[in-house]
Symmetry: C2
Subunit: 180 residues, 2 copies
Amino acid sequence: MNELAEKTLHSKTIFNGKVIDLIVEEVELPNGETSTREIVKHPGAVAVIALTGEQKLVLVRQFRKPLNGILYEIPAGKLDPGESPEVCARRELEEETGYRCQEIKHLVSFYTAPGFADELIHLYFTNSLIRGTQHLDEDEFLENVEVDLKEALTLLQEQKIYDAKTVYAVQYLQLQELMK
Amino acid sequence: MNELAEKTLHSKTIFNGKVIDLIVEEVELPNGETSTREIVKHPGAVAVIALTGEQKLVLVRQFRKPLNGILYEIPAGKLDPGESPEVCARRELEEETGYRCQEIKHLVSFYTAPGFADELIHLYFTNSLIRGTQHLDEDEFLENVEVDLKEALTLLQEQKIYDAKTVYAVQYLQLQELMK
């Protein structure tokens, strides 16, 4: 990897926030020149593709300030310090939707925006939901919606499903449907 | 949407960078309380699922400073000011891989990290590649790799394909394979 690696010469913290930190690094490029890299630090997150007994996908309808609009997303949330992704997935699913689950399996993990951020999302799947209790964070307002694959594809078409993890989830359901 | 919307009370620019800006907003929540939102502004980006005549997926192997590691990603890049996504997709594909394309079609667009950033990626597909000329940005170092679906799945397993748009791309190819 050495022929592509960039070496940090200097690192400066610009901002420490509630959710993210911002760092600017001066780096040495593979050709010996220097450049700067702007890096958002994030604690990492989980998301859950949760199917009800009727094979409906559980979504949360939520205002997103960066876009000034409402998206329909699969349940998701940030890792608490030291928390394992699976524990976080179970916790966020129940907090946001009121569903607990029995079995849950890890599907895939991915960096959301590797050009400028280190956020890694761990994506889980469950179809063994049981009723629990919704309890939202104090600055969290959202509504639950359950949709079948056809309705999910309509929301995608309408750009109401419009974020990476949920677009991936819809494609995952299409793939599962074809593999039946 | 009013029952979920957050109203900006105050907006403060923390940082203006080469790639991203950082803004912190004080917002009024639906219940009348206030909170803060940390928002990364990004110009938007494109990415291209490009298949060669041998049905191989064109990837770029690239060091990503936020992760301090090398990822295999589909070709991608930021929109220039005023540039249309399709023009950008054709430009980035040629700059990063040396391939031009005849037909190119828009597949889907998605926000990568709607909790803290407004980056929107427009994803394109082409399988009509013709040889052009690679020309990288001066601070850009990458290698081209072409893989079949089986090799792509191995890279995914090994977490070398490890970012949202490329994980989506691999699943897209799986879906196309099943639909044949």
